[in-house]
């Protein structure tokens, strides 16, 4: 697989781990990974938003256990640290959906430097998702 596109919508800490782990694995095979953050998940592309990610609903009480086990598995248990590690791989690009940014308060001023920028979903779907060998939605 040479390229993969991922769209992340869910912003709860536990649910955002899976696409980030898949990106980590793909980057270890030198697969180019492009990730679009939409809806609430766009907040993960800000320092404050990444730090505020938590577990929701019926799993909320298990958050400390999950974070502890994530660290034990060898992953950073902080989402921003994972994003930085992915960027450092040289194979993973992050994009913020412009509509999501406008709705949920993410702009060029608070976007993390590891992100490529704020883009239209149409561009991502046509230039990244449609051209990727594999596409995933979370």
């Amino acid at each position: 697989m040479k390229s993969m596109a991922i769209v992340i919508r869910d912003d709860s800490y536990d649910k955002i781990l899976t696409p980030l782990v898949f990106a980590y694995l793909a980057s270890a095979e030198q697969t180019q990974v492009d990730i679009l953050f939409v809806n609430w998940a766009v907040k993960a592309l800000t320092v404050e938003g990444a730090a505020s990610l938590c577990m929701d609903g019926r799993h909320a009480a298990d958050e400390a256990m999950v974070r502890e086990n994530v660290a034990r598995a060898g992953l950073p248990n902080d989402v921003y640290e994972i994003l930085k590690a992915l960027k450092a791989s040289g194979c993973v690009n992050f994009y913020a959906c412009s509509l999501a940014g406008a709705i949920f308060g993410v702009n060029e001023g608070n976007l993390i430097p590891e992100a490529e920028g704020i883009v239209g979903a149409s561009w991502f779907l046509n230039d990244k998702a449609a051209k990727a060998e594999h596409c995933q939605y979370f």
């Binding site: 697989m1 782990v21 980590y24 694995l25 980057s27 270890a28 095979e29 030198q30 034990r72 598995a73 060898g74 992953l75």
Partner: protein, 79 residues
């Protein structure tokens, strides 16, 4: 049969997917062609992940063995 002599050893004991693969990839990048990396792992997922990673990245899996729940792999860097 001659024992395989590793150039470097990577111990991922206790760590789980994706870290054994991520760390294997990182370790291999620092090695030269023909070098052999011994990977020690306790994540049983590596039994399929490491052969698959080798196939996809063009490296050669020389051996795979399990002893008391600890997995040992020898991978030669060919690319």
């Amino acid at each position: 049969m001659r024992a395989i002599t590793a150039t470097s050893i990577l111990d991922t004991s206790g760590k789980c997917c994706p870290m054994p693969i991520v760390e294997t990839n990182k370790a291999m990048k620092a090695m030269g062609l023909g070098d052999i990396l011994e990977i020690i792992a306790t994540d049983t997922g590596t039994q399929k992940d490491i052969p698959s990673w080798c196939e996809r990245t063009g490296q050669t899996l020389l051996s795979m063995a399990e002893e008391n729940g600890v997995l040992h792999y020898h991978v030669r860097k060919d690319r």
